[in-house]
């Protein structure tokens, strides 16, 4: 028989040490902001592993791409070209409308709307922990990503950046229970807050006004009142309006417009005052700061 426990500390003591250490880590990580910096370096240290874990996915994508025939590629190409043509056509009108809107806002004395700086990013990993809904993307602090940055895709808001590392960052989805986003009903500009309720459930609308007017099928867009998400991006569609039998309050549920379950490519938005330093767009004339009616801190 080989030596079992004759060497080193006894088993129970080792367990106690490990448990105390992990408890201390948990308390530090969830309560102290300074620990975020340590976490930044640790995340940076393991981020190569994220890229490694993504390689099978990339290889599979490449294989799919290679197995396409020439005809298929040509078909895709024509379809994409047609789509591009139509989109360009829409854009021509949009440019005109933008100018008109700008002028009208100037006449009214309201703050002007600015274009955001966008960057495409790829999802490295979707978290499969049942209690939190997060993504890891392949852009990090090196690319100018900051905590609290909005993340969207072509269908609507996905979430916001939650933690950054040097080359990767972690985004929290709108459906996470810790996430809330101020929205307004597109039809009548009524503002409220959409709170996440787990990704297998719909979003719940909170802070409803007294005389609320919400119907099934109403589009909810970001209201921009938090100063974090730009105004006007679609978030969710109302799917049910019920009355709580106990308190006679309305319970409004909305399902996110973005398909949060299969995300591959997404866009990062930089607000007007947070452009990455590489694109020097700060030489514009004085702007009126946007009116902030309400500042809310989200976890």
């Amino acid at each position: 028989m080989k030596l079992l426990f004759s060497r080193g500390t006894p088993l129970g003591l080792r367990l106690v040490i490990a448990l105390i250490l992990s408890t201390v880590l948990m308390i530090c990580d969830s309560h102290y902001q300074t620990f975020r910096k340590i976490r930044f370096y640790l995340d940076t240290a393991i981020s190569p592993l994220h890229f490694i874990s993504n390689t099978p996915h990339v290889a599979f994508d490449n294989l799919m791409e290679m197995s396409k025939t020439r005809e298929q590629l040509m078909e895709d190409n024509t379809a994409l070209r047609n789509e591009l043509l139509i989109k360009h056509n829409d854009l021509l009108l949009l440019e005109h409308l933008k100018h008109e809107n700008q002028r009208l806002r100037e006449l009214l004395g309201s703050p002007l709307r600015r274009d955001e700086y966008k960057m495409a990013a790829q999802v490295l990993l979707t978290n499969s922990n049942p209690y939190s809904y997060q993504l890891v993307i392949n852009k990090g602090a090196k690319d100018g990503v900051y905590v609290g940055q909005p993340v969207i895709d072509e269908k609507g808001i996905i979430g916001q950046i939650f933690a950054t590392a040097e080359t990767t960052s972690r985004a929290i989805l709108v459906c996470d229970t810790q996430h809330a986003i101020p929205v307004k009903v597109l039809r009548n500009d009524m503002s409220m807050v959409a709170v996440g309720n787990g990704c297998s459930n719909n979003l719940i609308l909170d802070f409803l006004p007294n005389n609320v007017d919400v119907k099934v099928g109403d589009e909810l867009v970001t209201s921009g009142l938090d100063g974090r998400f730009p105004e006007g991006y679609p978030v969710a569609t109302v799917v049910s309006v019920d009355i709580d039998p106990h308190s006679a309050n309305l319970i409004v549920q909305a399902s996110p417009t973005a398909d949060l379950k299969r995300l591959r490519y997404l866009l990062l938005l930089w607000g007007e005052d947070r452009f990455p330093s590489s694109t020097n767009q700060k030489d514009e004339t004085e702007r009126t700061p946007p009116v902030k009616l309400e500042e809310k801190q989200y976890e």
């Binding site: 129970g12 080792r14 448990l19 880590l25 994220h50 978290n127 049942p130 990704c199």
Partner: protein
């Protein structure tokens, strides 16, 4: 022989790394309930096979790496995995001598314990979460997978002379 064993310990590290990668692998949310806990199976095998080498310290370290990977609170998985390693080390000679189907039951119990620990940690930190009772199906899947993981690991262990 000692020399040789020291040579091949890196294979355990490699297997544990593969376990972590499998653990964080994207898994469709519709069949989330039956996602096996690869890392737990691999870790339990090696704690039973080489209790001198793979112990609580290793489980703690693996847990920290898993926490960093999955973005959960640092120390959560480390806490749960340390307890699992302790439970399997505590009676490792007994468990080692059981028939595979009996080990299977122990694995199911260990996975339920692991899931419950993670659940309580989550409650303590976030105060409110949604509980999915179907989650415990994954423990049964773990149990069903155990014989295959066990045989595969034993094959690897014998082939590379890891003792």
């Amino acid at each position: 022989m000692n020399n040789r064993a020291a040579h091949n310990r890196w294979i355990i590290w490699l297997l544990l790394l593969v376990g972590i990668l499998l653990q964080i692998m994207p898994w469709s949310s519709t069949i989330y309930m039956i996602k096996p806990n690869w890392l737990l199976l691999i870790l339990v095998y090696w704690t039973l096979a080489l209790p001198n080498c793979i112990g609580i310290a290793m489980a703690f370290f693996i847990g920290i790496v898993l926490d960093l990977f999955s973005g959960t609170v640092l120390g959560g998985h480390a806490f749960a995995l340390s307890i699992i390693a302790y439970l399997s080390l505590f009676k490792f000679q007994l468990i080692r001598n059981l028939a595979i189907w009996q080990q299977l039951l122990i694995i199911i119990l260990l996975s339920i314990c692991y899931d419950l620990l993670l659940f309580f940690i989550e409650i303590l930190i976030n105060h409110s979460i949604t509980m999915i009772p179907m989650l415990f199906l994954s423990s049964i899947v773990n149990g069903i997978l155990w014989p295959w993981v066990f045989l595969l690991m034993r094959q690897i262990r014998r082939h590379f002379w890891i003792y």
